[in-house]
Amino acid sequence: MTDPSRWHPAALSQDLVPATVIPARCGPHEIALWRSETGALRAWQDRCPHRGMRLSHGFVRGEMLSCIYHGWRYDGEAVCRKIPAHPALEPPSSITVPRFRVAEAGGVIWIASDPGNSAPPEMAEGLRPLRSVPVDRSAAGLRDALGHDVPARLEDGLCVLVQEIDETRSVLHALTSGNVEPKIASRRLESLRRRFEKEPAA
């Protein structure tokens, strides 16, 4: 069982511009992560309650997220406000999408299912988001290989967060510190990824 109070790094802030939705994960849960036009951030179950379509394929207009299948529109509280097939109907307030907690700090978006009063892990000052890369290796294997507490600060000015996807896949969210050129940092991250994928799993 995954600890529901745990915060999972889900994306870098820069990869979710206003008025977009992307697929994300919170441990085993598939998430539709979206930002409204004014910048409000939400993390919901990636499933429209109408016909089960992934909401991460949907579209954002103003402060609402719409499902791409039939255009059902949900407000910031995940309550259905519009069913286009029945424009005159006020949708029953029972039509809602399960919500997750989401937090944004230091250029990283974190998601948790039930974190209580806990806050996402503190990040060092002065880090700049670089990019996120998928890695074909378990999160446990990556943590072993990194040999540090996560977030791991590496030599060469790289700092990485490990996101668990499943038994064989993870995502590294990378930030940089110091005066490393983004291009050089990206190259270092790429060779790190290759090394992690080559090394036998612990």
């Binding site: 089960g52 379509m53 719409s66 299948y69 039939h70 029945h86």
Partner: protein, 276 residues
């Protein structure tokens, strides 16, 4: 569902050399004999029943107790017949049929072709199970369409009727743009490959004397490719037959009737019965 007829190939592609396909998790070989007889058999050599109809070869892993459903319009000589080939979709065969019965998605999935905002309303229509024929029908369906067919120019309110004569086949009737008093016929014949994969064989019988065949096929293929982006992203993959997991509205009356009909017959290949 083992005893139903299923499409497994286009007749135009059937040759002397056997071609292997998958029907309900099991391999099936299809070919045409030297004397012209269409054949289907398991790799072990067990012969399966066959029917040639609507430009496709139909077979069954079981023993069908009645002939393949009739499409009377297939005998009208002035129609254009357009078998559209195979569209592979990683979805339940039942979800593919249900999507075919749905009009409310037109403005969002087939934008500016079969529908467009703000014309999203689905007016009340009639959905029923016709006990005599044991088929699901929806009638008096209407929808505003910017380009209802390849032959259409400009927006029209299109009339529709839908028919489900078999668990993985559906036939729709819609206003023919060149002949507003007649119905064009568009069908999908779905080959259940596994419970979560299917091959969709669209087939049309149209009143359209001018559009080249390739353009008609391309138009229909484009529509199905748009549908595929939905069908491969529904959760769960299996069609839920019990209420609770999904939230239908009045626009979904055809889908509600279809699910009830499936459940009443025990047509559950590609379905899930327990609300998760």
């Amino acid at each position: 569902m083992k005893d139903q007829w299923y499409p497994v190939a286009m007749l135009s592609e059937l040759g002397r050399d056997p071609v292997e396909t998958i029907l309900m998790d099991a391999p099936v070989r299809v070919w045409r004999d030297a004397d012209g007889t269409a054949c289907a058999a398991t790799p072990e050599g067990r012969k399966l029943p066959v029917t040639e109809a609507y430009h496709h070869l139909w077979t069954s892993p079981g023993a069908p107790d009645r002939p393949l459903f009739d499409i009377p319009e297939a005998r009208q000589p002035d129609r254009r017949f357009v078998p559209c080939g195979r569209v592979r979709v990683a979805c339940s065969p039942l979800r593919a049929v249900e999507n075919f019965l749905d009009i409310a998605h037109f403005p969002f999935v087939h934008t500016d072709i079969l529908g467009a905002e703000p014309h999203t309303e689905v007016a009340r229509y009639k959905a029923e199970v016709r006990e005599d024929d044991d088929e699901v029908w929806a009638t008096k369906v209407e929808f505003y369409q910017p380009q209802a067919a390849k032959s259409a120019s400009g927006g029209v309110t299109t009339q529709y009727m839908y028919r489900v004569p078999a668990p993985t086949s559906s036939v729709l009737y819609k206003t023919s743009p060149p002949r507003p008093g007649e119905w064009d016929v568009i069908a999908i014949f779905v080959q259940p490959v596994t419970e979560t994969r299917c091959d969709v064989w669209p087939w049309m019988a149209l009143f359209d004397e001018t559009t080249p065949q390739a353009d008609l096929v391309a138009f229909q293929q484009m529509i199905f490719v748009q549908d595929r982006s939905i069908l491969e992203n529904q959760v769960p993959a299996l069609l839920p037959l019990d209420p609770g997991l999904e939230t239908p509205t009045r626009a979904d009356m055809t889908s509600i009737a279809y699910r009830r009909w499936l459940k009443s017959h025990g047509y559950t290949y590609g379905a899930q019965l327990v609300a998760a």
